[in-house]
């Protein structure tokens, strides 16, 4: 589904974030992207999302060169990709329902669609009773569930989660991982950037490790570190 061919990304300030990366993410996969800070993990997700353009090489999304998309086609690429952030990025003045509905509103969905789809997704993430609540009244784990609901409400083919449990305690993190697994079981490909070593070790998924912009390891069912 997503292919990186010899992708190098050098930022205008001269920092080489990615260095000749080749990677193939298959449909339905659950992939952990690990590595120290500054290794290029976030840059890699940004290239898929077309927030950045590669300096060299190609990023293909369903066979299409992402860099070649016209700027008016970019929003339609992004609707196929759900994003989950470490800091949740919810709108504080909107309720849980409105935050999730916002993702549909932005795509010009009808009221009927919104009324049907939002409760469905809130139920999936386990927030049925919290639709009318403001994000500030929720725990961190619940807020991230809202973030996940918003990311999947458009039925994306790929879910990119950038350290989704980075601000959460271990127990909450595990509950969220179960949710991610459920979403993955429904067929959504998941690319998760994380530092949560025990989670990576326990989940036994494909692990891609980056270091200084290079892929240093890519193994199925691997652990956070090589020696595991």
């Amino acid at each position: 589904m997503i292919r990186f061919y010899g992708v190098t990304k050098i930022y205008p300030n001269g920092v080489k974030a990615l260095d000749n990366v080749n990677l193939h993410i298959r449909k339905g996969e659950f992939l952990f992207l690990v590595g120290p800070s500054g290794a290029g993990k976030t840059t890699l997700t940004r290239l898929i999302f077309r927030e950045e353009l590669p300096t060299r090489g190609q990023v293909l999304f369903n066979g299409k060169n992402v860099a070649r998309l016209r700027s008016r086609e970019v929003p339609y690429l992004r609707r196929k990709i759900g994003m989950v952030f470490q800091d949740f990025r919810l709108l504080p003045q909107k309720t849980v329902f409105e935050n999730v509905a916002f993702a549909l509103e932005v795509t010009g969905a009808s009221s009927r669609e919104i009324k049907r789809r939002v409760p469905e997704v809130l139920k999936l993430v386990g927030l049925e009773g919290k639709a009318g609540v403001l994000p500030a009244q929720l725990s961190g784990g619940e807020q991230q569930r809202v973030g996940i609901a918003r990311a999947i409400v458009n039925n994306p083919v790929l879910l990119i989660a950038d350290e989704p449990t980075g601000n959460l305690d271990p127990e909450t993190s595990w509950e969220l991982m179960e949710l991610f697994q459920k979403i993955n079981n429904n067929g959504t490909t998941i690319l998760m950037v994380t530092h949560a070593r025990d989670i990576v070790d326990a989940m036994k998924k494909r692990v891609v490790a980056l270091e200084s912009g290079r892929i240093v390891r890519d193994e199925e069912g691997g652990g956070y570190r090589n020696e595991v």
Partner: protein, 295 residues
């Protein structure tokens, strides 16, 4: 476009307007002022144009005679004028008739002229109608050189002066309007810039959710246009109320000054003001959307 999306655009636009209510008010105010200036000068231009037209179309020369001419002298003058080339009609109006005519034109206020019969300041007058406008000057020049003629007046000079005045009113009005209009555009773009900054976070999230550029831009465009519309509506109402009370007032005190009061002209002018307000608003938001909304 879905109805819900439209509702969303307008809701966001109005939320922003109320969030920056003071700046919004200032923006609306400058739009109003600039369009007031434009509206007033346009009305002045329309009226002077109308007046010039009327004067030109009358092709009339007034010949004021010296006081104390004898009947025969007047008759002789009358004959001489009648046979000048280009003259169609000559009408003699005595001092008394002139006073009566003026009295009529004053309508209900005619008492002002009471008591003037004793010492009538108005001269005996010939009114000459010329065949064509371009003959007026020639006829007037010839008549002016005749004995017993005190003064000759004809529309031409007035018309030319009116044209000059109209020209300057137009230039000054449009100049002032452009200056204040530029200020209005600037203030609207500042308002929109603040709105963009206030909603930066939201805009960022919208981009992640796959909002098209126009979806992000539209509320801001609407916000600017609503500000322009409010300002122009206010200006239109003020111009309308002010002008028609002036028309009414003048009709009572100075009935001989004809003001343009037909709805067609005035309303299309007001419509133009509102349209221009929308354009000012759209321009102001377009500037800020272009500069501060990197979508």
């Amino acid at each position: 476009m879905r109805f819900r999306t439209l509702v969303y655009y307008f809701r966001e636009a109005f939320l922003s307007i109320f969030r920056n209510s003071w700046l919004s008010l200032a923006a609306v105010g400058t739009v109003t002022i600039s369009l007031l200036i434009l509206g007033c000068s346009l009305l002045l231009v329309v009226n002077t144009d109308r007046l010039a037209d009327q004067l030109e179309s009358s092709l009339e020369i007034s010949v004021f005679l010296k006081d104390g001419l004898k009947q025969e002298e007047i008759r002789e003058l009358n004959d001489k004028i009648r046979f000048l080339p280009g003259v169609v009609q000559v009408q003699f109006i005595s001092k008394e008739e002139a006073l009566e005519e003026m009295r009529r034109s004053f309508g209900p206020r005619k008492e002002i002229l009471d008591g003037l019969e004793e010492d009538n300041p108005l001269p005996d007058t010939f009114r000459i109608k010329a065949w064509r406008a371009d003959q007026v000057v020639e006829v007037a020049r010839k008549v002016a050189s005749m004995d017993g003629v005190e003064d000759v007046r004809y529309g031409q000079g007035v018309v030319e002066r009116l044209v000059v005045v109209t020209h300057w009113v137009r230039v000054a009005g449009i100049g002032a309007m452009i200056l204040v209009g530029a200020a209005a555009v600037f203030l609207i773009s500042t308002t929109i810039r603040l709105s963009v900054f206030a909603r930066r976070r939201e805009i960022g999230i919208m981009k992640y959710l796959g909002a098209t550029n126009w979806f992000v831009r539209f509320p801001f465009l609407i916000e600017g246009m609503v500000l322009g519309l409010l300002g122009s509506l206010l200006a239109a109402v003020l111009v309308y109320a002010g002008y028609f009370s002036l028309v009414e007032h003048l009709a009572r005190v100075m009935p001989f000054i004809p003001l343009v009061s037909d709805g067609q002209v005035v309303f299309s002018l007001l419509g133009g003001l509102v349209g221009l307000g929308l354009i000012i608003g759209a321009l102001g938001s377009a500037i800020s959307i272009h500069r501060f909304l990197n979508v």
